[in-house]
Symmetry: C2
Subunit: 550 residues, 2 copies
């Protein structure tokens, strides 16, 4: 049998676009004489549609779009993903379904059984889990059609408290009883740097265990926080990756089941470094946030520090230098080299930049608040005013010229609340909010791997917010090497305080950092969406009660 | 049998406080010679603990607290709620459990079977659903112990697209087979104005259907957005409310099962008006946000309009006038009566107020942005600058004096994006973000029911943001009566556009409003937490994809 797989960048709720992309791939597959072409999970609606799934009009649009696609399936079959209405009188109103379309009709459907409901996933919010597992016979081959998590019944979580078997059933065990010849898995599996290896192992282990080839078709592109890495896999019955589609790109591939039966390890030693994948992920995330919201231009505040420099470099790569606008907003506390470095970076990248001093509005606030602040010492209030004055300027430019403000905060400062709400925490999208400060340096080195783009001065100087004379981040925070080690263990691995360890880390330090994390939940609640590159990012994947005493 | 029920205001993660409140009630129940005292769902941890449940240290703390409480159960039994570890090798790591404690030990436990995972509920994120339903025999009486949603297998959703039976099993059907003499339901059931009646009907119907009395013990108090109304019910086997505990207050009540067997309709005609309940809910929500985060003082911008006036009146009721600080921040566009009305309200309520003109910083921004804005017309940018200057002032006062900024936006403007991000959308807590503008007037009338607190000028004048000369809300928005009717049908009832109707509503108007709602998801993403009084509030209960094209 000849099979095509289509790794596509879908757009949530953009039925016309998704339909056109799917139909185009069906035509291409037919031209390549494929018997069937496979798309990914919820390809018709885009993933994740979230509460749009609660709207009957949205589900009706899914249904009509499926019918329109089915009408194109002449002389070829297609497997698409769509929500479908649960016809039973009880249970959730929807199923998460893989539909086999042929000659204008739905000829088979399989519903998802394992509904991920953890981290950024909320599938049981919408879908009824399926309990029956029929195989589908197509042109003499018995297909086990599964949907993403259906093959993840056994997995390793970063949080050791989770069970390895999160579900009480295993769809593949049930399907295997019916002797399928091929496993198809349609996915919407987002990127996280720590999951690339384990994800491949899960699919390889399933192929090996049951001695059946596995075809995993993932989507690519980003939808707000979630960045899908594509990297669809065709795995032989020996459990070796026979073909891997590219990371973070649309792709299309046709092959025969005979070829696949042979097997070989196409993955080999060509594994990609995390820093390279993270770089591609962030560029994809920025690009798609703009493309899918219909914006082109961005603006950011360029401080001379490494975070804004890296954000600018990534955004220029994603959106083009012609769409960039950097604004340098020095204050009385800005160092000379900050302005020099920021200017140098803008010139290297060839982006438009402006220098707007914050002195006048900052003084005006000082003047009108003077009577109320009389006799009180200068403190973090005055630092926050500077950060907020910058946000007012950036948002004014954003409003007037229709460009999106990019936020430049990193995960370390977001974690401990080292940032000003409505100040440097402002923006439409947080580019680096899931990147720890120590990884910011790794990414900067990667950006500079061939030539110096980010100025060496920006990389080598000690981090500072420059909101008071001679301020350094280390005045308020532990060294980032130590801080990040604690943050990673507490936030990403969810280790208890007493098990957090490492060089230079003592219990008092751990407790101090944990207090900072917990007392700043209220700030993160109002932070912009964060491009997610880890398996525990701030945002929808981490839900903390604001009023907890813990 | 003598039974006590304890309706308590728990604090998430504050194990010491929760334990003390529970032990105090156990002692009181023992003094009143009760055989058993019943607490509410997850009483040990507080509800909802959200992702604190992912932390092994948090669960361990629940376990030790349960043991400490059990040690107090000498000569009396207690039913408490706590997460417990799922001992099986597969499935979610936790159960949501009702534990019967007696003589220092756990003598029985029942796990929750129906896990609400919709709107603000995420229980399947953490808990494994129970599939076994044993009754518990205690001093000759067979108790069917259930947890909240377990009795909600049949319910009516505001969104007609939902099924009335959301689950494929009915715990009560299973329990009824074992002839229980009493149904106990420990709850953590948040308030929504449209659910008070239906909630009582659900429990009454269960009692009637099975001919068994039902005791529902709910918590009270608020945890961030969620406000629990208490109002615990004791329902006779005829399905009549025999006793109702107060709304939004802690309460304790002891009775015998013999008394209860008689029945009578204690609810009678004494049903409370929605406006009165909403008023109590908001006061509770404000009070507990401050109490539980350890703050006392609040600040807000008082514009002379009805939203900020109502917010101030509610907050003074919740926190006391001595903790209030109103700031009037007139601009060149503020009308004289706005300042007069704001001043009058401050004086009526006896709260401290300051008048700080925004003119100087507003001009300073005009000056520094002048060169960049050269030749461009004044537009919404300049309006937003005014709103953001006010936010900088309020946040500076908040930072300097340690008071929380209360947000004064209403649900109508939040819905259509008629507000400035980092401007009037700023604040630690949104008091009125779930109250439509037309209901704002109802609440104001209720506040003024005995004497004029909110000035009549504030109530009678046409709504205006006063950000340009002679501006009125109706310049940009439909009349609020029409707008709110559309918003309610689209957001709360989730009706499709073509089924939204009413006086003065045509399809073009509906489409225009829907476009405003959808294109402003990005603003609401960064809004403060909203006190929830409806069954579809902005915030965690409504999750929309920002990049959707729909």
């Amino acid at each position: 049998m000849r099979i095509s797989i289509a790794q596509i960048n879908y757009h949530i709720g953009n039925f016309e676009r998704n339909r056109e992309l799917i139909i185009e791939a069906i035509r291409k597959a037919r031209a390549e004489k494929a018997d069937i072409v496979i798309f990914s999970e919820l390809s018709v609606s885009g993933y994740p549609p979230l509460d749009l799934l609660d709207r009957i009009d949205f589900i009706e649009k899914c249904r009509t779009t499926v019918n329109e696609i089915a009408a194109e399936c002449r002389g070829i079959a297609a497997i698409v993903g769509s929500p479908t209405v649960n016809p039973n009188t009880s249970g959730k109103k929807l199923y998460n379904t893989a539909l086999v379309l042929s000659e204008g009709k739905v000829i088979f459907s399989a519903n998802k059984a394992l509904l991920p409901t953890y981290d950024i996933f909320d599938e049981y919010r919408y879908f009824e889990p399926e309990k029956k597992f029929p195989v589908f016979e197509f042109r003499g081959l018995r297909l086990a059609i599964t949907i993403c998590e259906d093959l993840w019944d056994e997995q390793h979580f970063d949080n050791e408290f989770e069970k390895r078997r999160l579900y009480t059933i295993s769809p593949m065990e049930e399907l295997a009883k019916q002797n399928p010849g091929l496993v198809i898995n349609i996915s919407a599996s987002p990127f996280s740097w720590s999951k690339t290896g384990p994800k491949a192992e899960i699919f390889k282990a399933k192929a090996r265990k049951f001695g059946i080839p596995v075809i995993q078709v993932n989507q690519t592109g980003a939808n707000t926080e979630l960045i899908f890495d594509g990297a669809s896999m065709i795995i032989s019955s020996k459990g070796e990756i026979w073909k891997r589609l590219p990371f973070f790109e649309e792709a299309f591939f046709t092959f025969t089941t005979d070829e696949l039966m042979e097997g070989s390890d196409a993955e080999g030693d060509a594994r990609t470094e995390p820093v390279e994948l993270i770089h591609k992920a962030l560029v994809t995330g920025i690009r798609d946030y703009f493309t899918k919201t219909g914006f082109k231009k961005f603006i950011l505040g360029l401080s001379g520090g490494i975070d804004s420099a890296l954000t600018l470099a990534l955004a220029v790569e994603a959106l083009g230098r012609e769409n960039a606008w950097a604004v340098l907003m020095p204050s009385r506390y800005s160092s000379e080299h900050s302005v020099t470095d920021a200017r140098a970076l803008s010139e290297t990248l060839g982006v438009k930049y402006d220098i707007i001093s914050i002195e006048k509005p900052f003084s005006a606030f000082g003047e009108i608040l003077g009577p109320v602040f009389e006799g009180l010492k200068s403190d973090v209030t005055e630092e926050n005013i500077q950060a907020r004055v910058r946000a007012v300027i950036l948002m004014a430019l954003s409003n007037k010229f229709g460009c999106i403000l990019l936020n430049t905060s990193n995960k370390s400062e977001a974690a401990v609340g080292y940032g000003t709400l409505y100040g440097d925490m402002a923006g439409g999208l947080s580019v680096l909010g899931d990147v720890y400060k120590t990884d910011i340096y790794r990414l900067a080195a990667w950006i500079n791997r061939e030539r110096e783009i980010i100025p060496s001065g920006t990389i080598s100087k000690p981090p500072s917010a420059e909101l008071r004379p001679d301020q350094l981040d280390t005045d308020s925070l532990p060294d980032y090497r130590i801080l990040d080690a604690i943050l990673y263990q507490y936030i990403d691995l969810q280790k208890p305080a007493e098990r957090i360890s490492g060089e230079g880390i003592d219990r008092a330090m751990v407790d101090r950092v944990i207090r900072m994390i917990n007392s700043n939940e209220y700030k993160r609640y109002q932070a912009p969406p964060v491009l997610r590159i880890s398996s525990k990012s701030f945002g929808d994947g981490r839900r903390m009660p604001l009023v907890a005493r813990y």
